[in-house]
């Protein structure tokens, strides 16, 4: 019984994640974007905890704490600091207008579900739909990275993708081995730092974080 309850919880959280992904896709303001990202982390933590509780796998608790620290607290904080230091409070321009993006996103979700169903059929774990949702949100974050014109949202999109992957790892399977999760977390952290450093360099060199400035290297 508890299993089914927890599975319902996890599915709920999964749906919430998907919603968040769409929200990020639609979001125009950087600060809100970061908030959404933090929320995503929180949802991830929650689902991980539920999984840990349901399956009683110890290392999932660790990874939950890791997620909490890293993705709910540390990285959002870093991003906040960054945009404070860089004084970037502008709205985000997108390459394609938002509604079109949303439509594409919905298409992606359907595609991802269609792709994931045969696999979910055989999923022995207590969460069937989650794999499809994870894949969908991965693709959505990808889409977000494509359509954003500024550097910071792109990076947030990348981190969101990382989140979705984590979600896939924890919900579809019983979580990756701890050593792997640690390694991935380390990479993400270092990556974020490096991104941060890059923001400053780019700002210094190009007087803006608009990646449209960075189209010099090409074949002519």
């Amino acid at each position: 019984m508890g299993q089914s309850l927890s599975s319902q919880f996890v599915n709920l959280l999964a749906a919430f994640l998907l919603l968040l992904a769409f929200a990020m896709l639609a979001q125009r303001r950087v600060l809100t974007l970061i908030k959404l990202f933090a929320w995503q982390g929180a949802a991830l933590t929650a689902s991980t905890l539920i999984m840990a509780y349901a399956t009683g796998q110890r290392h999932l608790y660790y990874s939950a704490t890791l997620t909490l620290l890293l993705k709910v607290i540390l990285i959002p904080w870093i991003l906040h600091r960054l945009i404070d230091r860089l004084q970037i409070r502008w709205d985000i321009e997108t390459l394609i207008n938002i509604p079109a993006t949303m439509l594409v996103g919905i298409g992606l979700v359907i595609f991802a579900f269609a792709l994931a169903t045969p696999i979910s059929e055989m999923a022995s774990s207590l969460t069937r739909a989650t794999l499809g949702i994870a894949m969908a949100s991965v693709l959505l974050s990808f889409l977000m990275m494509i359509v954003r014109r500024k550097a910071v949202p792109q990076v947030i999109g990348f981190l969101a993708m990382e989140n979705s992957l984590f979600f896939a790892a924890t919900s579809a399977t019983y979580g990756m081995p701890l050593v792997v999760e640690l390694g991935v977390a380390l990479d993400v952290l270092v990556g974020t730092f490096i991104f941060g450093i890059f923001f400053f360099h780019i700002r210094d060199e190009f007087e803006s974080l608009d990646i449209r400035n960075m189209e010099k290297l090409k074949e002519d």
């Binding site: 796998q57 792709l115 045969p118 696999i119 055989m122 999923a123 022995s124 794999l131 994870a134 894949m135 991965v138 990808f142 990275m145 550097a151 792109q154 990348f158 993708m161 990382e162 992957l165 896939a168 790892a169 579809a172 399977t173 019983y174 990756m176 081995p177 050593v179 792997v180 390694g183 991935v184 380390l186 990479d187 270092v190 990556g191 490096i194 991104f195 890059f198 360099h201 780019i202 060199e205 190009f206 990646i211 960075m214 189209e215 010099k216 290297l217 074949e219």
Partner: protein, 482 residues
């Protein structure tokens, strides 16, 4: 034991060089660390040749002919590149393009990079392999952006974003793999270990694995530089310091390809049919053709050779895609000779660009008059990479072509046309750089050209005669792959 050394010393070196900062002897220390790594790798190789495959540290690491030969190659090229970068970086400093802090970053990152490379190769755990590849990306991103010029920043940014995203796809693939493996092996650490996965590969769920392979291919393929995922590669090669270009072409691409091949073996075992092979052949062929046509438009010398790397990676991918012992053998051989030749070329190119102060091929002329060693190095290296006999590249390309002609005749015209176009493009551009009139100034430090000729000598040797143990070793690896 040797594994610990091979892994430990680059890490140690990286930390050490990061801590001590840029001393006068930092380059020597860098070279020394690489040397020790090389020695350890050699010892490891001997061990494997004598005792055969082995695992270590409750199976977290394992060595078989396939990866040990790449480890040896990596260590070797790493060492020679360190030798080359010693004077190169001094000259850069002398020209005022780099300062102490940057050099410190460079040296430590160089060591960390080679650490991640070796980790990728030796790790038995796909997750760790992924972590290492991502780590390599992070390290090289810093190296590519070393000059902090707008161009280098742009290149590094593209490299970072594209590769991180790609690698993320790979992670998803790994998760799917784990998802499938879990069913068979059960939860826990072991179900991500290559060795265990191979053991049970025919029981793994085909649909999941094919899906996983797509993600893995796109992910690691981005790092291999397969068209159309290649866009980061020319920029990163052209804008980073030349030693970095050398290791990117010589090592990173190989390692990424190594990951792809491992997953291919796994998936083939599960699917039975040659689904992955077809994909790899397609990507390989596309890369070869597209890269060849890119070549003829290049103005920047490093960019041109970057495209040539794409082309050759395409050839190797195609070879592995075809499968079968001969093709696999050819692929391994081509990996070896390509990374040796290409790094040698980048060494000479580096010094040439330093001499002329430009990477624009139109401004580089008459190297052979000014410094015969550089000129000859570039000329011979180019001939080698273009697959002129008797260099080793010819042997491998010949094997690939003949196998293709035998098993997939439709592919050979594309390959031949691409090779022809590439030859015309590169040779036509390099020839005036080597010969022709010039007035160049002397370099403040004597260039290190020993590595160039060592590499070319080995490539030549491999073209004329492959030592029996090396053959045996390739055979085993090929048997494992094909």
């Amino acid at each position: 034991m040797e594994i610990a050394l091979v892994l430990g010393f680059p890490l140690l070196g990286g930390l050490l060089l990061a801590l001590v900062g840029h001393k006068r002897w930092a380059p020597e220390l860098n070279a020394l660390m690489s040397l020790i790594t090389l020695v350890a790798a050699a010892a490891l190789t001997r061990r494997v040749i004598t005792d055969g495959p082995m695992t270590a540290l409750e199976e977290q690491f394992f060595v078989d002919p396939f990866n040990v030969f790449l480890v040896a190659l990596t260590a070797f090229v790493g060492f020679t590149t360190a030798l080359f970068s010693r004077p190169y970086m001094r000259i850069e400093e002398h020209h005022g393009r780099l300062n102490a802090a940057r050099l410190r970053l460079y040296h430590s990152m160089y060591q960390l990079f080679s650490f991640t490379m070796v980790l990728c190769l030796l790790s038995n755990n796909i997750g760790i392999l992924w972590v290492a590849v991502e780590g390599a990306t992070l390290a090289t991103v810093l190296l590519v952006s070393l000059y902090r010029t707008p161009a280098s920043l742009e290149a590094a940014w593209k490299y970072f974003i594209l590769c991180s995203v790609g690698i993320a796809q790979a992670l998803f693939g790994i998760i799917l793999l784990y998802f499938a493996a879990e069913k068979v092996i059960g939860p826990g650490g072991t179900s991500l270990l290559w060795t265990h996965l191979y053991a049970v590969r025919d029981q793994l769920e085909p649909t999941v694995l094919s899906l996983a392979f797509v993600f893995l291919l796109v992910g690691f393929g981005t790092k291999v530089g397969l068209v159309p995922l290649h866009n980061w590669l020319p920029d990163a090669h052209a804008e980073g310091p030349t030693p970095v270009s050398a290791v990117l072409s010589g090592l990173l691409l190989n390692v990424a390809l190594y990951a792809v091949v491992r997953s291919k073996v796994l998936v083939d075992g599960a699917l039975g049919r040659n689904f992955s092979g077809g994909l790899m052949m397609g990507f390989g062929l596309l890369s070869v053709v597209v890269a060849a046509f890119f070549l003829s438009r290049q103005k920047d010398i490093k960019r041109m050779f970057a495209y040539s790397s794409i082309e050759h990676m395409g050839i190797v991918t195609f070879a592995f895609g075809m499968g079968g012992p001969v093709a696999a053998f050819a692929g391994l051989l081509h990996m070896t000779v390509h990374s040796l030749t290409k790094s040698a070329i980048f060494f000479t190119v580096g010094h040439a660009t330093q001499k002329t102060g430009t990477q624009n091929m139109a401004d580089i002329r008459g190297l052979i008059e000014q410094s015969p060693a550089i000129g000859w190095g570039l000329a011979l290296g180019t001939l080698a990479i273009l697959g002129m006999p008797p260099f080793g590249v010819f042997t491998s390309e010949f094997l690939v072509l003949t196998t293709a002609m035998h098993e997939h005749p439709w592919a050979t015209p594309f390959l031949l046309v691409a090779l022809g176009v590439a030859f015309a493009a590169i040779f036509g551009k390099v020839q005036p750089m080597v010969f022709g009139e010039t007035n160049l100034r002397r370099l403040p430090h004597a260039p290190a050209l020993v590595p160039v000729f060592v590499h070319l000598a080995i490539v030549l040797m491999l073209g004329l005669y492959i030592p029996p143990y090396l053959v045996e070793w390739y055979r085993q690896a090929a048997a494992f792959i094909g």
